[in-house]
Amino acid sequence: MNLTLVLATLRQRFTSPIRILIVLLFGWMPMIPILMAPRAGFAALGDCYFLALALAAGMIGQDLSSGTLQLLLARPVTRAQYVFSRWGAVAAGTFLITVLQTLVAALIMTLRGAPVPWGGAALLLANSALLALGTAAVMALLSSLATGLGDLGLLFLVFISVQVLEKIGMFKSWEWLVRGAGELLRALKPELDLAPYFHGGPVAWLAVVSYLSTVTLCLGLAVVVMNRRELSYASSGN
C-alpha cells in the first residue's frame, strides 16, 4: 500500500460535494432512531454498506475515464499498490465515518440519559471494519472493470441478475440455483459477524474462510484486471 495514494484518495473522496452529501445522508440518517429511542442501542445505526458504496463508487473507474491514471502510473507505483491503496483508503474512510457515527450516537444516548452499551459499540465497529474492507474489495474489482461510475451499474446489474436467478431457482425448485444465488449475493456484500466471538464463543470457520476468500479473490482479480489493462488513449484510436 502507498500512503501518499491512500491519503490522496481520502482527500479526493471527502472533497467531492455530492459524495459528502450522500455520506451525510447515509451517515446521519440513522441518528433519528437513536434520538427517538436512545435505549435501543447501537443496532439502530444499521451497517455501513451504503456508506462504503458511496465512498467506493468510481474508486478506480473514475481515474480510468478521466485519464489521471496515466500520470499516476508513470510514477514508481505498481498497479497492485494502486489497487490496494484505493481499497485501503475507501475502507478506512468508511470506518472513520462509522467511528464518528458511533461516538455521536453514544453522545446522544448519554445526553438523553440512556446507558451506553460499549460492548455493542465495539461489536458494531468490528463488524463495520470487516464490512467496509469487504465492500471496498468488491467495488475495487467492479471499478477496475468499468470506467467512471460504471461499478455501481455493474453492482446493480449483478444484484438484480442474481435475484432473478434465485427466484427462478425457487420457482423451479432447483435447490442448487437457490444456494448458488445466495452465495453470490453474500459475495456482493462480504461481511463477517463477530457477535459469537464477542459473546465468548468461536466464529464459524466457514464464515471466516468465505469472507477472506471473497475479499482476496476480489482484490486479486482487480489487480489482474489492472495489470492487463492498457493505458493509452492511443488504444482507442491512434
Binding site: Q70, A74, R75, P76
Partner: protein, 314 residues
C-alpha cells in the same frame, strides 16, 4: 547503455485489424532530445505509450537503460507530460506538485522548496498555485503539467504535445526549459505536431507514418546552422561557370555551410538572418551572380509534403 532502445516493435489494435506500429526499431542516445512527428494516426502516441510501458507491444522490445519501461527504477527517474492533460482537479496546483513529488519518491525534506522551484520554473503565478486546478486555464494546466514532469530533475522525460494550448510566452519558456533539461543531460522524447518547435529543440527526429519510421533526420538543434537558403543564379552559372569550390570558399568566409549544388541552385545552411546577409555579401564579393535567394521550408515540413521522404526507412 543508458539510452532508450526499441527493437522491432509491433503493436496492433482490434484483434490485429489496425496495425499501429509495424516493426519500429530505434536507438535514442543518453542526453539526446528526440522528436517524433507524423500525421494523425501514424502511431506516434502508440509509440510513446509503449515507451512508457502503458501499452504492451505484440512483439518487439523496449528497454530504457537496459530495463523494462515499467520498471519502477526507471519510473523513479522519469517524467511524463500527456497530451490530454487531465489533472486531479480537486487539488490546488501546490497540492498537485507535492502529491507527484511524493509519488516520485523524492525526499520529503526538500518538498516545499522543490514545489516552489518547479512553479517558478514554469512561470506559474504563486497566487494561482493556491487555487483549485479546476479554475486553471488550458495554458496554466500545461505549465503545471510540465512542472510535474520535470520534478526532481528526471533522467528521462516523455512529452506529448507539451506546447499545445500554451501562449507564445509559454512556448518560449518551454524551449528554455528544454535547453535546461538538455544541459542536465536528460534524455527527452518529444511527440509534437509543432514542426518549428521540434526543429528548434530536437537533436534528431523520427518521421512516423503508418506505424513505420519513414525517415530519421538529424537536426543539430541548437547548433550553428539553423536555416537553409536556396541561391539561384542565371543559367550556366552556379555549379557550371561558378564551380562548387568557389561556392564553398564563399560559404566558409560567411560562416555558412554549402549543403548541395544542383545547377542553377545551391543550398546553404546559415545560422540566422545576419548569417544570411553575410552569405549573400560573400557570394557577390566572390563574383557569383545571384538572381534569387529564398529561405527553404523547414526540413520537417518537407517530410510531410513529400510522399517519399528523403532519408529512407530507418
Amino acid at each position: 547503455m543508458d539510452g532508450i532502445r526499441i527493437e522491432s516493435l509491433t503493436k496492433t489494435y482490434r484483434a490485429g485489424q489496425v496495425r499501429a506500429l509495424d516493426g519500429v526499431s530505434l536507438e535514442i542516445a543518453p542526453g539526446e532530445v528526440f522528436g517524433i512527428i507524423g500525421p494523425n494516426g501514424a502511431g506516434k502516441t502508440t509509440l510513446l505509450g509503449c515507451l512508457l510501458g502503458f501499452l504492451r507491444p505484440d512483439s518487439g522490445r523496449v528497454s530504457i537503460a537496459g530495463r523494462e519501461p515499467d520498471d519502477l527504477a526507471i519510473r523513479a527517474v522519469s517524467g511524463y507530460l500527456p497530451e490530454r492533460l487531465t489533472l486531479d482537479r480537486w487539488m490546488t496546483g501546490l497540492d498537485f506538485l507535492a502529491y507527484h513529488h511524493a509519488l516520485a519518491r523524492l525526499p520529503v525534506a526538500g518538498r516545499a522548496a522543490a514545489v516552489q522551484t518547479a512553479l517558478t520554473r514554469v512561470g506559474l503565478d504563486p497566487e494561482a498555485a493556491h487555487r483549485s486546478i479546476r479554475r486553471y486555464s488550458r495554458g496554466m494546466l500545461q505549465r503545471l503539467g510540465l512542472a510535474q514532469a520535470l520534478l526532481g530533475r528526471p533522467r528521462y522525460v516523455f512529452l506529448d504535445e507539451p506546447a499545445s494550448g500554451v501562449d507564445p510566452a509559454g512556448v518560449v519558456l518551454f524551449r528554455r526549459l528544454l535547453d535546461e533539461v538538455r544541459a542536465d543531460g536528460t534524455t527527452v522524447v518529444l511527440n509534437s505536431h509543432q514542426l518549428d518547435q521540434v526543429e528548434r529543440v530536437c537533436d534528431r527526429v523520427a518521421f512516423v507514418k503508418q506505424g513505420r519510421i519513414e525517415a530519421l533526420e538529424t537536426l543539430h538543434a541548437g547548433a550553428a546552422m539553423a536555416r537553409v537558403l536556396r541561391v539561384r543564379g542565371p543559367a550556366g552559372t552556379i555549379g557550371e561557370a561558378v564551380p562548387r569550390a568557389a561556392l564553398e570558399l564563399a560559404a566558409q568566409r560567411a560562416g555558412a555551410e554549402l549543403r548541395e549544388v544542383s545547377p542553377p541552385l545551391a543550398r546553404f545552411a546559415v545560422p540566422d538572418d545576419a548569417g544570411a546577409v553575410r552569405l549573400v555579401q560573400a557570394l557577390v564579393a566572390a563574383g557569383v551572380p545571384v538572381a534569387e535567394v529564398t529561405p527553404e521550408e523547414g526540413r520537417l515540413e518537407r517530410l510531410f509534403l513529400e510522399d517519399a521522404p528523403p532519408g529512407g526507412p530507418a
